[in-house]
Amino acid sequence: MKSHKPQSSQMNSTEAADDLRAKFDSGITSTINFRNEISIEIKLEQSFEILSYCKDNLGFDYLVDITAVDNMGKDPRYEVVYEIYSYQHGCHLRLKTGISESEREAISVVDLWPTANWHEREAYDMLGVTFKGHPDMRRILMWEGYPYYPLRKDFPLAGKASKMPDVAFSEPVPLDGGPFVTSPCSAPTDKREPRSREFLP
């Protein structure tokens, strides 16, 4: 991405993270630096407060994405990830918050970034995490009335049968030994092409 003109008040992700830690000590559980990408784990109760501080005081004016992750077997099972960017400072920040299996509800940030509307609907559609305060919490990709959340880890790759008269239906697909995956290697094309895990070299 094209870098923006340096300003006197330019800040980078690390400084933004430090600022957040100083301000919200109790709301932040950990900070991870992976190849200069900063991820901050925040507590669910304070997530809206912290995100609105990021937007209003730290200049993170652009919400790149909201997505959710299913860490099945861990507690909390779900994680909602906010990827934010500042056009003013030209830096990214990633904030994550854990959502427990029993609650499965995050706090909507549509009031901060209107673009969150569709991102949150997608997270709801695929993983069944709802967002408190969302103005229109409906599915966005699958049809209204589809009974499953297909990106959960316990949802089979082949899908499940469902039926809604006059709207849609779905059937499990024949996988025939699939999924077909490639293995990274320098072998010739016939060895490299996608194949069932069963037959991987």
Binding site: L141, M142, W143, Y148, P150, F155, L157, A158, G159, K160, D166, V167, A168, F169, S170, E171, P172, V173, P174, L175, G178, P179
Partner: protein, 207 residues
Amino acid sequence: MYFININILCEKFHKVLAGKVLVFTLKSQIYPMPKNTAPVAYDSKIEGNVTFTKLDAAINWMRSNSLWPMPMGLACCGIELMATGASRFDISRFGMEVMRFSPRQSDVMIVAGTVTYKMALAVKRIYDQMAEPKWVIAMGACASSGGMYRSYAVLQGIDQLLPVDVYISGCPPRPEALLEGLMKLQKKIETEQSFVEQKKALLSEIS
């Protein structure tokens, strides 16, 4: 022998056949001349304008050379469908250039692309709205079998919902392949018993 007003038979071919008399027989049965049709006296001037043929052959010839496609472009294959309609490949060389976005005016639905379950019943509904006679082409791997999408969201072949006449392989098929498929469909139409199959009521009325 039976005479029929060519305008009723097929309006699309009105211009081509205007002024010509079409004479045909049905199952080699001889039908009486309708009362209101004047007998045609021998006239050497019109001799070249009279064509003897079978009704099925005439109808099939008209139908197969004026296939109006209903473009059901659902994914990447739709782009190849557009290319087929554009100048380089020029679908109109075969009489199929009149793409109609209204199902009521089209003859052949070209299902070009990935049919998701969310779209599947909409495709079926559009097919149901098409007037007989109608045909379906499944263009590309996705429309034929679900393609690479062995997934919870994708219908594994449009033939689960519609009667497909021609399948075209490829991901995506090249425009030449689509043209080949359309020509295969023309060949198929030429072998149909169109009159007997689709005008049962009319047949019992006039026999």
